[in-house]
Amino acid sequence: MKRLPFIIILVVLAAAVGGAWYLKRSATPSVPAQALASASPRANAPTSSDPGAEPPHTLGPANAPAKLEEFGDFECPPCGLLHPTLQTMEREFGDRLRITFREFPLVPTHQHALAAATAAEAAGLQGKFWEMHDMLYENQKQWHEAFDVRPIFEDYAKRIGLDIERYKQDLTSQIVEQRITQDGLRAHSLGVKGTPTVFLNGREIPFESLLPADKLREVIKTELNAPHP
């Protein structure tokens, strides 16, 4: 009887450590860096899920050995942090890397996320998605706190050389709305719950392997060096 409280304490300690270990394992969807490339594709890999908006917004050749797909929200601060890292990866890996951006505005968490996604897609209809994408991320802090983002986004549209009248019309167009919805459907089919969520050749990169740039560089290098069937 004297030992019982100590036994209970030890049991709870063991359960706490075990629970933490289990949570850590389940919170890390895929194995990091070294093992990422050799891991078998997940059941919910992008190849077997909703295709998303067509054509997708991509950078890099279609036959690049490393295909990176980001689900992002322009108002999400970590997405803003990841943006320069992805630009660095694009420069460093060149033709060996293809980057795809998918819309995943977190509504209602971020009040302007949908407006930002709409602005980017409307710019995309004039072939300037990436210019607006960069503008939105690079100035995220400026418009994040704004009450009305429309004049700010219009100013960005002017600065990247869009036809403003067409841009304004496209903001309410069905194509823009459908593209965002289709990307959202793809996100849900892949089990995406937050942003940024990044897949590399169909496997989700754990968030802790995305930043800083050194970590992501290592993940991509490992993927490129891995033997592919």
Partner: protein, 164 residues
């Protein structure tokens, strides 16, 4: 002046003593039950803090999610002490309170007194964290609020148990 009848005076002493004896075990049991309740609450707090720690360690808490508030709170500079997640400190504190409450429930009196010393700073930190969420960060995280509720209950319970 006529003498009035006071039934209390007429009561036999013996039954009064035996009644006190009957009440004694019930009174002694009360702190035990309170400490047992505190131990159970600490386990809930511990589970919550472990969940938040893992979210922090794996970077999940830093991501933006559909649930508003948590990512803003947990990615703020207040979520860490140096490089140590605040949630990990919370987990250690809850485990400490759980151990003390368990020992107190098994009759270790000094454990109950130590529990007050452990819970008091936890409650102070809880108040500070609620202030930060409300007035500095501007967002509330439901996991942090759950922890705040647990700590508040633990404070009340340990105080009542100590008074008895």
């Amino acid at each position: 002046m006529p003498l009035t009848h006071d039934p209390g005076i007429m009561k036999p002493i013996q039954p009064a003593i035996s009644s006190a004896k009957e009440k004694a075990p019930r009174a002694a049991r009360a702190p035990t039950l309170l400490y047992a309740a505190a131990a159970l609450l600490s386990i809930l707090g511990l589970a919550d803090a472990i969940y938040l720690t893992i979210q922090h360690v794996t970077g999940q808490s830093v991501r933006c999610t559909i649930i508003s508030g948590c990512s803003e709170v947990l990615s703020s500079s207040y979520a860490t002490i140096g490089s140590i997640p605040l949630a990990l400190v919370g987990a250690a504190a809850y485990f400490c309170v759980f151990s003390l409450a368990t020992l107190a429930a098994f009759g270790y009196r000094s454990a109950g007194q130590l529990m007050i010393l452990a819970v008091a700073p936890m409650f102070a930190v809880t108040l500070w964290l609620i202030y930060l969420q409300a007035f500095v960060i501007g967002h509330f995280c439901q996991f942090c609020l759950f922890s705040a509720a647990i700590t508040t209950l633990l404070t009340v319970i340990s105080f009542i148990a100590w008074r008895r």
